[in-house]
Amino acid sequence: MSVTPLLSRFTPSLMEPETLEAIFVQREALAQRIVVSIRESVLTQAKHYSLIIGPRGIGKTHFVSLVYHRITAMEDLQDRLAVAWLREEEWGVTSFLDLLLRVLRALRSRGPAVVREPEVEQLYELSPKAAERRAAKLLEEALGGRTLLVIVENLEDVFSGMKAEGQRKLRAHLQEHHSWTILASAQSLFGGVSLQTSPFYGFFRIVHLQQLDLDDAVKLLANIARAEGDEDLAAFISSPHGRARIRAIHHLAGGNPRVYVILSRFLDRTSLDQLVQLFVQAMDDLTPYYQARMQWLSPQQRKIVEYLVDRRGAAPVKEIAQRAFITHQTASGQLKQLRDMGYVQSESMGRESYYELREPLMRFALEMKKQRAEPIRLFVEFLRAWYTGAELRRHLELLEPSRALDRRYLEAALSAESGSSEDPCIAACLQDLEQHTQHQRWPAALLAAEELTILRGDTADWLARVSCLCKLGRPDAAGDVLDGILTSGSDAFLWHRRARLFTEAGQHSAAQLAYLMVLSRPPTEQSWALHGYAALKLGRYEEALAAYERAVELKPADTFSWSGCALALVGLRRLNDALPPAERAVELAPTTIYVLAICGDLLRRLGRYEDARRLAQRMVDCAPGDDTGWWLLGDALKSMGRFDDALAAYEQAARLDPAAAVRDLDRSECLAALGRWDESIAAFDAALRRWGPGEGIPVSYTAGLLLHIFRCGASGPDWGDTAERLVDVHRRNNALLSLGMGLTAMLEGLLAADVPASTVSRWTEMWRSMAPREPGADDPNSSLALPTLLLWAAVHYQLSGDERVLLDLRAEERRIVETMLRDALQQPSTPR
């Protein structure tokens, strides 16, 4: 027979260690840290004193209970440790003597009999002062060299009872006998430990327990369900539906674990009558707890809390002071204390601080006590938080006519919902989504977006989910989500989004189809830019230009459309025409990296290197953490022949985006230009490894590197060694084909070089000798056979004019050489 473990909401110290462990969330690292500090205190001379701070219900007793069980389970500490656990409500500790007696009592009730009973009894025959000194001595004798772990809950109460005199005695004892280690807890930081004038100032390692965030709450509730053997509930809690429900109550619980434990009983209740019953029961359960919390307060603080219960919502200090008939200064001081104790939370608006109850459930419970006759208002509020509008309407439809009271609840909740601008569940989700997005916490943002698609399902919700998946590097999953809402009738924006996702996922054909879908949509005022973008991606530059021109006509301040115009004109090889729209975009958005990058690259391609450099420098100044500016700066400097500076810029770009293989290529080119061959080839090797064998390195880079080697070797002694290493690197990376393409692409530079014809000839002969005569032969360099042959033939024909060179080639090879020569000699070069 399986036994359901005890889950105590108010006395976790009664729970079994296994249960405490099973439902423990958020604080594992902290627990381990405290356990290590206690172990060190037991096993070495060092002694640690830790104080756990947190409001009631935050999980302090759970925490110390868990640490207690972990420590006492450690075999190697058994003979070296004595534990005295002073329970939560150690009323009546009014002196150091009282504390010593509690410790002695706790030791008597635990572990080996270390305290001699008659001697403890004798203490009662002495004067208090003598008894105190004797008890201290007795305790140290009883310990006999062992370390005493004292666990004290509500330390602020114990200290308050002991007063300054007792505290001083305790501190003096601890200073003289380094035998204690302390794990204490308190509701808030209190003067007894935080003021420099207090004996225990700076004595404790102070740890503030944080309230649970939504993820912690979900884990906690799932753990509770599992601990109770309810796997179905655990699964429901972890589902988007379950999370949405927990998110809805998150603001009711105020991050307080105790309240979550109580609410956990509601989670799988979808029937209204069960919910009503449980709600009332929960409020009944919570009422004594909250009443007790009220009793802990001073009359002035109580008055403030009561006002906030009635007030509902946040109130400024001035109003609170007025209503409580106290000065502004007093109210401010009391509210700060209440905040530290976890009763209220504050928010600043302008120069004013607004305070409200931290746990709405506290208001519910206290209100219920006051308004027994009319529980409807708070229950209605609860229903609105618990159910979505659709769920409320469904319950109402299915309600039997006889359930008049339930009907009143539901109608009131629906009426409140229609009178309100937003559903609280959706509002909570939206708020979380916004915050997580702002802080780039994408996993949490995705969860919120998923819940929104379930609760509301607007296109915006789906798109938020898609965005989060993209940010998490999951374009495939994002595409699947988008496919769920895409129809043939979907608008250009959705198809545009889909196309970009296909591109990110490397599905270029599918992306092209999606872009075609964008173009097939009738353009609207909003979608001209999307049409332009789609046409650009499809290489339909005229069409792109027309669409972008229409877009800027409608929205003259649309920087991206101006940039789009520039890109379309570049596509049409109208570089000079592209510059004005690119510059217009820069005028409109002088710090937008994308816009600056387009203009900067264009300037470089137009040969305006200094202007390009200045723009790139501006990018670097605007966003030093963005690699784009550094990259373009490197390009501009490289074009100016400032290879050292260019190398430094590329290296910075590589540091910012180490994954980009193209940075290695740029570095390699600069290093080659500087004659640093080993480093250059190593960088090229790194690029090849990153690029992988499947995709060719842009041929202009290979050709560029080869030309540097050629030019340098022309004035230096040796190409062969460098060339062989280059072949070796390409062969190892299965990229000889890429090298071959580079060789053919360097023809133009080779013929234009200001070197003797014999040098050019020697270069081609060298390459010819490194490859077999026929491709396909059993030679590791066989991939180079055809490119080296073509290069050799083109150069020799060009230098000698001997047509037999061409005639020796096969017809198709001859045509290629003719094309190569035509391109090299006639076509203007297109800068990369």
């Binding site: 690292a29 902290l30 840290r33 290590v36 500090s37 060190e40 205190s41 070495t44 001379q45 060092a46 002694k47 640690h48 004193y49 150091f96 001697e119 002495l126 004067s127 002062k129 003598a130 000194r133 004797r134 001595k137 007795l138 005199e165 001083r168 005695k169 501190r171 003096a172 601890l174 200073q175 003289e176 380094h178 930081l189 935080s194 003021l195 420099q196 004038t197 004996p199 100032y201 700076g202 004595f203 404790f204 390692r205 102070i206 740890v207 700060k336 530290d340």
Partner: protein, 392 residues
């Protein structure tokens, strides 16, 4: 030696870093006279004397006692007698004599605790004197009492008994020091002994009860030692950073080399549980300078001006500190007198000079050989700027 952060806890002598030279110096001084050890709270005074008691350079009798709990002459006598009781017990002949003396004054020993009759304060002090004399007579080495928090005991005596009781104890101890050449005392305390002595003087007790003792300040750790401590803590806590040595230096400098704050910062880095850099450290320190929760209670530096400085002096003290907080570099005395004089209606320059001396004794201010003055701790200066809205 990788260490664990232990803010406020007991640091064993073998884990104490950067205090060896000071300890050697203290032993040298103790060779000729007793010592008053002064410093701000949490500067590490107690750790220093713990190490001295645990690892003395020569054979002797060394007693450590924390006196903050003591509120009467009788309690003081009992407490000291308790501590030497076990030593007496080891020397049988002495134990018998001690017991005879104890019985003569109507006291008793129960389970290692010496109990004197109520109202026997004078007898207690005599008994104490007698026993210390016996100890010295039968032990050829030095006898050193390390009395921690002695200003607090004097404060308690004044509050619960009288100024005369406090003065009586101080006089008695001075007399013992003067008559027993091998007896040494080390007084330590976080509230300056000078504050208590000044108060007693104001109450009419003109005796210079501690002017035979050498006053030794406990400074923060030197930058190298502070960085070493931070480095060992970073290692012990396995805190990830790209350059632990550099980070250690940043921590040491951010908290002016105060060991307690170094432990504190590393503890917080450890609690973060993620890789840390200079900004993480600065963020922690900055938060403490402005946080209303103020775990470090830096507000104390403001509050104690009102507590310990008489009404005519506190505005001057505030004006001095405000002026030093906004100054970009140390201020010459003449310039400071001019600045403060303009803010203080009395215009009494001697009063300002007197306050400056107190501010130096209270570790707010330091003066260099050229006479220029500055905040002693840059950290406190930054707090002062933030707290008083003075800007950088």
């Amino acid at each position: 030696m990788a260490l664990h952060a232990n803010p406020g806890g007991y640091v064993p002598p073998d884990q104490l870093i950067g205090r060896d030279r000071l300890i050697q110096r203290l032993w040298r001084i103790l060779g000729r006279q007793s010592v008053v050890l002064t410093a701000e709270r949490r500067m590490g005074k107690t750790s220093i004397i713990n190490k001295m008691v645990a690892q003395p350079p020569i054979d002797g009798l060394y007693f450590y006692q924390d006196l903050e709990e003591v509120g009467s002459e009788l309690e003081f006598a009992e407490k000291v007698l308790d501590s030497i009781h076990s030593e007496l017990s080891k020397r049988h002949r002495l134990a018998i004599r001690a017991r005879q003396l104890l019985e003569r004054v109507g006291g008793a020993e129960i389970g290692g605790v010496v109990k004197l009759p109520e109202g026997a304060a004078e007898d207690g002090m005599k008994l104490l004197q007698c026993m210390i004399e016996d100890l010295l007579e039968h032990h050829s080495g030095p006898v050193v009492f390390f009395w921690d928090e002695i200003p607090l005991m004097l404060h308690n005596l004044r509050a619960r008994s009288s100024d005369a009781a406090a003065m009586h104890v101080l006089d008695h101890l001075r007399a013992l020091r003067q008559t027993q050449p091998r007896l040494r005392m080390v007084f330590t305390g976080s509230i300056g002994l000078h504050n208590v002595v000044v108060a007693l003087r104001r109450a009419g007790h003109a005796n210079a009860a501690t002017n035979d003792m050498h006053v030794q300040d406990v400074p923060p750790l030197g930058s190298k030692d502070a960085a070493e401590l931070a480095y060992q803590l970073l290692l012990g806590e396995e805190i990830a950073s790209s350059d632990p040595s550099r980070l250690a230096g940043v921590i040491a400098s951010a908290v002016d080399g105060v060991p307690y704050f170094i432990h504190h910062v590393v503890e917080q880095l450890a609690q973060l549980g993620e890789p840390c850099d200079d900004n993480t450290v600065r963020g922690i320190v900055d938060r403490h300078l402005t946080d209303a929760q103020d775990d470090w209670n830096l507000q104390y530096y403001r509050d104690r001006i009102d507590t310990y400085y008489p009404a005519e002096e506190s505005p001057i003290a505030l004006a001095v500190l405000d002026a030093l907080a906004v100054a970009k570099r140390a201020i010459p005395l003449a310039k400071l007198l001019q600045l403060v004089g303009a803010h203080v209606p009395s215009g009494n320059e001697e009063l300002i000079r007197g306050v400056l001396v107190r501010l130096q004794r209270d570790h707010y201010v330091e003066q260099d050989l050229s006479g220029t003055l500055r905040f002693r701790f840059p950290l406190i200066r930054r707090f002062w700027q933030a707290h008083r809205g003075l800007g950088a």
